[in-house]
Every structure is written in structure tokens, then in C-alpha cells.
Amino acid sequence: MKTDAIETVKKPDTVIIQPMKGLVALNLRDLWIYRELVYFLTWRDLKVRYKQSVLGVLWAIINPLVTTVVFAIIFGNFAKFPSDGVPYPIFSYTATLPWTFFAAALTVSARSMLTSGGMVSKIYFPRIIVPLSSVFANLADFLVGFVIMIGMLIFYRVTPTLNMLWLPAFLLLATITALGVGLWFSALLVMYRDINYLLPFLTTIWMYLSPVVYASSTIPEQYRILYSLNPMVGVIEGFRWALLGTQQSISPSMIAISSGIALLIFITGLFFFRRMERIFADMI
């Protein structure tokens, strides 16, 4: 794209405005033109979040860390949940870290269209940027929390393996899932405001359906495939396999199923969001 306004005057882009019918194309061209807005909104979210709270960036660590401590005491110490042969605290943190990211990204992006209502009803930009940048802002929190992860790996003397190279792929899987669900819910939330009350409930239930406090190996063998229809199963067990080298809870078919479902949610979410995009300004 051209960067110079003068050049644009000579060769203006023609925009066609007409009602969208049926399944509409994703308009990636506009998304590309507005790519810097993704950066600026992500940056705004981060800046505002860390400016407003005294603890600032520490929040990104405190949340998964405190959760892990509680889980380690209750489920690890008292209930003695099996943890695939690794110390429970690190077993738990490897799950709470991506889970915290997922749950926060999902909730924030689902609400993002409403919180950005002022912008949406006044000005044009590809609406998908709003939930997209909320997910990215939470990704930054994840990276901060990952520092603790490294500390724990050293503390528990976990020897890194080549599995670790797969970690970005599992992070991508978590991101795609969060964005996909976020897209669905942000569009639905514009139409039905009471879905807002459903979100905390949804994330809580979803957590217990994911191997956050327990290992997937606890699930009977014959239900594992069904279980891995939850994309977060693939994400969390993927994290454990990549970082801790656990073998009991993971199989290639589970990862494949989780990834397939994540992609399905993401792609349908994209099209659903795009389809609803045209009525956002009317509804907000």
C-alpha cells in the first residue's frame, strides 16, 4: 500500500459500498490496510491496563501464580491428584499459564465490541481489529507470565528437550481458539446483551472440562477422543509435553482433533463475525 497521501490523490482507491448478501468474503485487503491499528489498539490496551493499576505488569504474573499455589495446595497436596510424574506445582502452572491467557482473551475479546461501541458507531475500520487486538494484548500478559515458567523449569531442574520447539505452535493453537470463540461471542453479545452474564459461567465450566488441575490421563481411554474435542485439551497437554516431556496424557490423534476443532471454531467465527459486522453500527 501507498504510504504517501499525495500519491493517494493521484491514484485513489475506489471503495464500493453495497449491501452484503449471503456468505461474504473476509476483506483481508482492508485488514492489511489497517494493520497498524491492530498494533495501536493492542498497545493502548496494554498501556492503559498497566498505567491504571499500581501493581502494573505484576498482575500478569500474580494471576496464574496465585491460582497455581492454590491448586498445588488443594489438588496437589490434599486431594493428591496424579500429575503424570512431574511435581504438581509445575504441572499446574504449565496449564494455568495458557489457561489464564485463554480465559482472559476470550472474555475481553467477547466484550470488546461493546466496550468499543463509541468507535464502532462513528467510524469505519475493519471491526475484526477490535477483538483481535484484545487477544493480542492478553498475549503480552502470557509472555510476562512465561518468565515465571522459565524460573520454575530451572527450579525443578527440568531438562529442556527438542519438544520445546513445538511450544509456539501450541500457543498459536490457544490464540486461534480464544480468537475464534471471542469472535463468536463478541458478535452474539452485540445482539444479545445477556450473554455477558453467561461468560464467567462458560469459562468456569470450560476450565473443569480442560486438564488444568488434573491430567488427561485421568480420563478413561475410551473417552479421550471425545474429550479432545475441547481444543484446550490439545493446548494444555501440548504445553506439558513440550515443556515437561509428559507422555501419558497426549497422543497425536488428540492433538489433531483439538487443532481441527480450533480451526473450525476460528474459521466459522471469522465468517460469522464478518456476516454480523454490517449490523454492528445499527445495534450498538
Binding site: 504510504t3 485513489p12 471503495v15 453495497q18 449491501p19 498505567k51 445482539m191 453500527a281 445495534m283
Partner: protein, 420 residues
């Protein structure tokens, strides 16, 4: 590639009517509704809860042209602008826009109070569609224009509203769009700010860019635009050179004959218990007229009824020139005695009437607005454009010189010439 900046063909926008409380649905309602819907479908066979805010709109705007869009409130002007700036999607039709569209109606969109002025310039610029390199290049200019150099690193929540507005406007003004949309009707801010908006608009027009200008200010429209389109009830009724269009609008846009009456469906529900009936301009003989002689007194009257008593009610008029300058504001209980006498106005049928003395108003066209309110408590009813009337200067002081007189008033002053 044609030389058209905007090409609009048969654009229409249909809205669903949502009542104030029911602007959006809840899932719970939707579910219970669909259970009840068989019955509902039986009772209401046709869904009549939609209306066309805009229909069959077609026009072209050549590159570099300044086009005025005029029409009463609710005629569809803002909807048209929102469609052209891609905020809302049309229900039917097609428009082609070539070039970046900027608008002076969304100043400050996305500003965050916690962020500094500098940060907001970048954020707002990006929201408006500027590249970072572009903002970098224009940053100093933007800050200079906003005149807030020393506060640029202060969070904008500490800004005065004037500073906030100046910074927000500065960013919008430096967008350099090929097509600029100015909705003066929506422009908030003081007179100075509006003047700046108009100034920026003439600059942009002068640089050969395309401008769409929406305004109620007819003198600004004739001054700044060459051609206008008129919207009435969502339809385009005319496109003509601005002088012609403004003339047509002024003579057809309002109720004719120096009288405005309100049908019950025109009265907003929050006006209750105040019920406007009619507003009239009367000449010295007591006839309803749309043209009065400046040498005769004229009477303004507002007829209304109260369904229940209102304490502290005042009913008044605004007199405004067609250029948008206020001549005066006056209320029926301006006199303290009158105010205490009507401390509580009982339910009933009233006329509030006042007389404008002879030899006060200059020649020209005036708009009469009405306001019924309780000071600092509630505004029951307001119509800023209730009646339009002309003042004819025949016989006014100084008419033996054929020249237009400057000024809103044309008083007959008691001159004395003393030779010393």
C-alpha cells in the same frame, strides 16, 4: 477512470424501530418470543416495525466539488453520511467512493483519558486511517495547531474540554482526506470551534478536494457550496445550484403561512404533560402571516395545553436570523411578578403571547423557535425551527437609500442634528 469522487445509485437504508427501552434484545427474550410467536404472527400478520430512513438516493459528486446536503432533522442527512463513511451498511443500492474519506464529525474518537496527548494523537490518527509514518511526519504540525505544546505528555483526563477538543480536532484536520465530510449539525463545541471547522472546510475545498457539507446554516451553505441536494423524509427532492436550492428549502422546508401546528404523533413522549398545539406569527391586524412589515408591531403566540400542572414552567421563544445568529430569547415569565403569579401553572389550555414592537427588526428572514421548560429541572419541549417569517422593510428608516442595511435590528432612532 472517471472524474467522479462519489457515485451513489439508489441507496436506501431501512431501520427497525426499537423503542427506547428495547434497543437490543436479550437471548432470553428471543427464546420466549419464539415460543409465543405463533400467536403473535396471527395477531400481527404484517411486520410494520420498519421504516426507510433513506430511499432511492442517487447522485454524483465530481472530484473537487463542494456539495451541500440540506434537509430538516430526520430527513436522512446523517444516515446518508454514515453510509458514505461506511459506518452503516445500506439496505439497498450501491455507492462508489474514490479516495480516502475523512470526516469532521468524529473528532476525538477513541481518545483514552488515561493516555497522554502524544499517545492519543497516534492512537486517534491510526483509528482515522493514518499510517504511523504519516503521523510522525505531521506530529509537530498537529501539536502546533492544537496549541497545547507544553501539555502534550500529560494524560488527556487532566485537559480542559477546550484543550481536549483542540487536540482532537487537530488530528482530524490533518488527515488530508480526498473526500471530507462535515456534519455541522452534529458538530459540538463552541462558536470558535465551529468557526475553525468551517475554516478548515474552506481550506480543503480550496485545495481542490471533494467536500460534502451538511448544515442548517443557510448562509454558510450558500457561501461555501456551489450545489446542494435537498433531502425530505428520506427522499432526495432536489439537486440544484445552492442559491436556488436554499430558496426552495426555505420556502418549502418549513410549514408555510407563519404558523406551525403539532400533530400528536410529532410530540415526543417526554414532553408530557406539556402539549404544544400551535405557534403563530400575527401582524398588527391579528392575521396569521409569513411576512410582516418592520414598521408594524408583530405578535408571536404559542398555544398549548397542560395535561397536569407544572411548577415553574416557562414558555418562550428564540428569534434567530437565517444566518443562525440569535436576535433574542424571551420567556413568558421573565417578569418576576408574572413568574410568581404562575408559580404553578394548572392543567388547561393556554396561549402565551408577546408583541415585538414596530421598528425593531431589520429586513430579512427569521426563524422562530419555541422552548417550554422548568429552569434547571426539565425541558419539556423544544422546536428550534418552528416558524419562519420574513420582515419587509417598506417604510423603514433610511429606505430612501436603496442599500441593504447591516445589522439584525433597524430601530427608528431619535436623531438630532445640532449645528454649533
Amino acid at each position: 477512470m472517471s472524474n467522479l469522487a462519489i457515485n451513489v445509485r439508489d441507496i436506501g437504508k431501512q431501520y427497525h424501530i426499537f423503542s427506547e427501552v428495547n434497543r437490543y434484545q436479550t437471548l432470553r427474550e428471543k427464546l420466549s418470543e419464539s415460543l409465543k410467536s405463533p400467536l403473535k404472527a396471527l395477531l400481527h400478520p404484517t411486520g410494520s416495525d420498519t421504516f426507510w430512513a433513506l430511499r432511492n438516493i442517487s447522485f454524483d459528486v465530481e472530484r473537487g466539488m463542494v456539495l451541500g446536503v440540506i434537509g430538516k432533522n430526520g430527513a436522512g442527512k446523517s444516515t446518508l453520511l454514515k453510509i458514505l463513511s461506511r459506518v452503516v451498511e445500506p439496505t439497498e443500492g450501491r455507492a462508489e467512493i474514490s479516495g480516502r474519506v475523512g470526516s469532521l464529525l468524529e473528532v476525538g474518537t477513541g481518545f483514552h483519558p488515561e493516555l497522554s496527548g502524544r499517545e492519543n494523537v497516534y492512537l486517534n490518527g491510526a483509528i482515522l486511517g493514518m499510517r504511523r509514518s504519516e503521523i510522525d511526519r505531521k506530529f509537530d504540525e498537529i501539536v502546533a495547531f492544537s496549541e497545547i505544546e507544553q501539555f502534550i505528555d500529560t494524560p488527556v483526563k487532566r485537559y480542559s474540554s477546550g484543550m481536549y477538543m483542540r487536540l482532537a480536532f487537530a488530528v482530524s484536520a490533518h488527515l488530508e482526506p480526498e473526500i471530507l465530510i462535515v456534519d455541522e449539525v452534529l458538530a459540538v463545541g463552541d462558536a470558535e470551534f465551529q468557526r475553525k471547522c468551517l475554516g478548515k472546510m474552506s481550506d480543503v475545498a480550496g485545495e481542490g478536494r471533494t467536500v460534502l457539507f451538511v448544515s442548517h446554516n443557510m448562509s454558510a451553505v450558500t457561501r461555501l457550496t456551489k450545489e446542494c441536494i435537498i433531502l425530505e423524509h428520506g427522499k432526495m427532492t432536489m439537486r440544484a445550484p445552492s442559491d436556488e436550492a436554499v430558496d426552495y428549502y426555505l420556502s418549502h422546508g418549513y410549514e408555510k403561512g407563519g404558523e406551525r401546528s403539532w400533530a400528536s404523533e410529532e410530540i415526543p413522549s417526554d414532553a408530557h404533560p406539556f402539549k404544544p398545539i400551535a405557534m403563530r406569527v400575527l401582524n398588527a391586524k391579528g392575521q396569521v402571516v409569513d411576512s410582516v412589515r418592520s414598521v408594524e408591531p408583530l405578535t408571536l403566540e404559542m398555544e398549548y395545553s397542560l395535561d397536569s400542572a407544572i411548577t415553574g414552567l416557562r414558555v418562550g421563544v428564540y428569534l434567530v436570523t437565517v444566518r443562525g445568529d440569535y436576535v433574542f430569547t424571551s420567556f413568558d415569565t421573565d417578569d418576576p411578578e408574572q413568574f410568581s403569579k404562575y408559580a404553578e401553572r394548572r392543567a388547561g389550555h393556554y396561549i402565551s403571547r408577546c408583541t415585538i414592537p414596530a421598528d425593531l427588526l431589520n429586513e430579512g428572514r427569521y426563524t422562530l423557535g419555541v422552548n417550554a421548560s422548568v429552569f434547571r429541572i426539565k425541558r419539556y419541549f423544544q422546536d428550534a425551527n418552528a416558524v419562519v417569517f420574513n420582515v419587509n422593510p417598506t417604510g423603514a428608516p433610511g429606505m430612501h437609500w436603496v442599500e441593504p442595511r447591516q445589522g439584525v435590528t433597524r430601530p427608528r432612532l431619535d436623531w438630532q442634528i445640532v449645528e454649533k
